[in-house]
Symmetry: D2
């Protein structure tokens, strides 16, 4: 039985890809191998059915089945958060209950595209939390680049004040460093209860975000073990080593972080690393052409070179 | 067995609401009564699972079940188009096949939110049509206010040229009168094959659009019989009477056409007319408060007055 | 010397077009005739350099010169509000001072495109009002369809509380009827000071908005005298007559209200009515083609017919 | 007298900041020192009045005066491109003529915000080029993240075919690597005339873009001499050294590239490097707080360390 997510969550929650066969079906054996890959990376948790997991291209039945399969395979080794954002609240609640009953530690919700004011977002979360009930931990996913639903730190703090089940802020606004600092200061465990802040944006600003008080990273970068080391070094007070290691991977972080297109890159890297059998993105979705492949080859070769030059050894020694 | 949709389609295709109980479940008896309401209005066809049908808030299973139920109830009396837009092409195709197997005359697809260039839209429709196969008639839904995927007449004509199964243009861009004229001229049955053009936007510009060559109307206005009369009068060359009748309803057309909020108005009018039992919009969705109800009361009372003053009698005499 | 705008403003503030010659220069004689046209319509005030005034296509020098010219010609007969929205606060302040020194009654500011949260909008208005000083009355223009800067009633009330010089809310959100009611109740002269609310959206919802407590209309509809009568009838408690009159013009209101394109229609109507010499819209801008002209001819002819049938006479008797 | 811009342009065209005093006035002595700074960096050209130059916050008179001042100071040492994008074509043309008369080599135009289809963009450029005449070289600025006006490679090629004065594509779409390749292949000097492609996005993908055939970089990164070296090394066939050098600066490139906020970082770095006297961004604009300053201090210190470790020496040896 999994424990429930709470505000003490930290480290790396990898956003899992959803493996498909070349024909576009869910590739169940690759789900298993992908879980083992993440476990081997030492991640602190997993997030499934995020945008990077192509959740919106799954049918409701597939989403439920995938949730159950993931949870069975993980089998309590790490906590699993399930993305449940949906235009209909009933669908959102149904998947949440399926996930929690099967052992998920919490669910992640982004404000709906089409919410235009902060007042509307606050009201929407009120409705969603009321529909979920008092026992399901909620992650607020702040990703306005995708949802167009922007929220200020002040309004998010209203949600924190109103809803004890909101225990984590998935930070993904960009530029968003100031907002991260405002929310960290607002939820520091003193004047207001502490909440966990995990950062996204493909990991592009991880060292800066950890320095500003983030508790960890929730992203799909295809080298999760590196992020695990970066977080561990940072937590151990070795922030320069942490950032040296991060910077060695930064060219690839940047390359994967290209909105939309980056997902195809990411799945190809996961494939090369043996985590999944096919890099296929479900239709409609980006595909790598020959130029893209050559470009990626070069970036990966350069990474190897840099690591062999000792950056990595120094960093994690 | 229903016939397939083709470019000769004309008149009024009512976009059906989806009736829910106050608790938010599909209200199956109201689906039946709503079908009978539309049949009584003399509409030429029905469109189900459009945006006005809250399709995005249904689960995949509900969408399929609702499609089957609607088709059984209509039972071939009029052709039924099924909205199948979906972020995932596999889901889109699956619902399309379910619908066509059950007797739908065709399916309606809008370009995906997130497609940014016309080239991307043209390419997307290429993929979708290829996945649907050569036997499923397709309606292109042009609703950029909702999808942010804008297309010019020129690019739409490329789609017409490439894909014989695209037989109808659901016109909903605004301002869009010039585009309608361009597409009408481009698909006039001479230089290029004819396609059917039905207009939306809540019907706000119907007389102007019919004058520019539209073949009819596809919208959810709660007085479909009026639109049927308007189209019939117009087709009979009695365009002034057609517009007189339309103008009598214009205050209400305008009121229902408020984006988002108008759906709650529309369902309330349908409820008052006995078509459905509850005006509930599924969560999250707009609700009418007391002021809204008073406002609607007044608009409906004024409509009654105007009709009793003879506008209607004159118009449809 | 003009008086300053205050919260008692009511009635019709016509948003003035900016007349250009066919070559695209400001047509100064038409500015004069247009002012006289508006005066002849009995409007309660004028607003110049709004979006409908193509302000963003004027140079800074032209804007200043036009402001001075308008104010000289009006010569205190009615109060004049000047639109000063600008990406740079220094430019905004400069034009405001030019306008106020020349006798404007106040200035109108919309939140900048690119402001993403309500907190940012509130903060922006704080900066702007601080830069303007304590003596310049400010109209908040709420037009998110154009600015993408949405604000809730609650956040607008914060601005009212913080800044005594904000005396008017130009209401143009759509759907926005609920927000209008919220702001009216929030600024009713009881718990909080009264502010004036004038409505826009081309006038599409005027009767509903007056019933909800709007103080008048600020829009560019080419028959301002009708809106004057509508407001007067409504103020006199003859709301049914007011709405009858309005509804007679509704087909044209709707036609002019088409975003972007409507401006070309409006200027053509103003030209036909003798208010300006050319209907030219400055480049880049919409142009009427032959079909558009025929369509407008028909709408105007139908309006004549309807008025001659007595609607008008009854309404304003 | 400057030469006109043509398709042979390559290397680094620095987008110049506009220096302001703390009070927000143009800081003319800093304009001079900034020009000398860029000259000292060995840039191949300058671009003034870009978005990074806060052009939209200048008055028309300031823009003209700044253009003349810059051109006088540069005095023909490198070609100068002037950003002239403006909601009004007349204003655009006026500034273009002022600039060209004073010795600019060409002007840069982005499609207007509000253009929704590629057909509209192509048409807009037709109007603009017609208004500019046949003697003013034009740079197409493709920056849809800011303009929301997306264009495909195919449509841009139509503009190239129609307008010989369009000689450069300022590439700034993101993700945009595939588009860059398509345009490079489309304008390779074979089937179609060659055009120059300079890339933006703060320089975030420079090595990948040079490998795909970009001719250089046009961005405001505060270490332009590094980009000059990167381009030179790449042109000399030493692409690994080029990328090593680039990667050493990548953490800072990424930090400056944060939309909006990055400008404040950039001006602060320019100030520290002695290029300008104040880092002030004109209101409304971002400001660095203490945390931001500490963060920047750390990034610059880390850069120093890395350079001292020999990356730079190796790279440009």
């Amino acid at each position: 039985m999994s424990q429930l997510l709470d505000a003490s969550a930290k480290g790396v929650y990898a956003i899992s890809a959803t493996p498909f066969t070349d024909a576009g079906d869910i590739d169940w054996p690759s789900v298993d191998s992908l879980v083992e890959f993440y476990m081997g990376c030492g991640v602190q948790g997993l997030t499934i059915l995020g945008m990077m997991g192509e959740a919106q291209k799954l049918s409701g039945d597939e989403a439920a089945e995938l949730t159950l399969h993931f949870l069975r395979r993980v089998n309590g080794r790490v906590p699993v958060i399930v993305g449940v954002s949906n235009p209909g609240t009933a669908n959102l609640v149904k998947l949440s209950k399926t996930a929690m009953d099967a052992g998920a530690c919490g669910i992640m919700v982004a404000p709906l595209t089409g919410l235009k004011t902060e007042a509307q977002i606050v009201s929407y979360f009120g409705e969603v939390v009321a529909a979920l009930g008092e026992n399901i931990p909620v992650v607020y996913q702040d990703y306005p680049q995708s949802t167009q639903a922007d929220i200020s730190a002040q309004s998010f703090l209203k949600i924190v004040d109103a809803h004890p089940t909101v225990v984590m802020f998935k930070h993904e606004d960009c530029p968003g460093l100031k907002k991260l600092t405002q929310i960290r200061k607002g939820c520091d465990g003193g004047a207001r209860r502490y909440i966990s802040i995990l950062v996204g944006n493909g990991g592009l600003y991880v060292p800066q975000e950890l320095a500003r008080g983030a508790d960890g990273v929730m992203t799909g970068f295809a080298f999760p073990e590196t992020l695990v080391s970066v977080c561990a070094l940072f937590a151990a007070g070795r922030s320069d080593e942490a950032e040296d290691l991060f910077d060695a991977y930064l060219p690839l972080v940047r390359h994967e972080q290209q909105p939309g297109f980056g997902l195809a890159v990411r799945k190809e890297v996961l494939r090369r690393r043996g985590a999944i059998r096919s890099a296929a993105v479900r239709s409609p979705g980006p595909k790598l052409d020959e130029t893209d492949i050559t470009e990626l080859d070069r970036l990966l070769a350069r990474l190897e070179t840099r690591l062999s030059e000792g950056v990595r050894r120094r960093a994690i020694a």
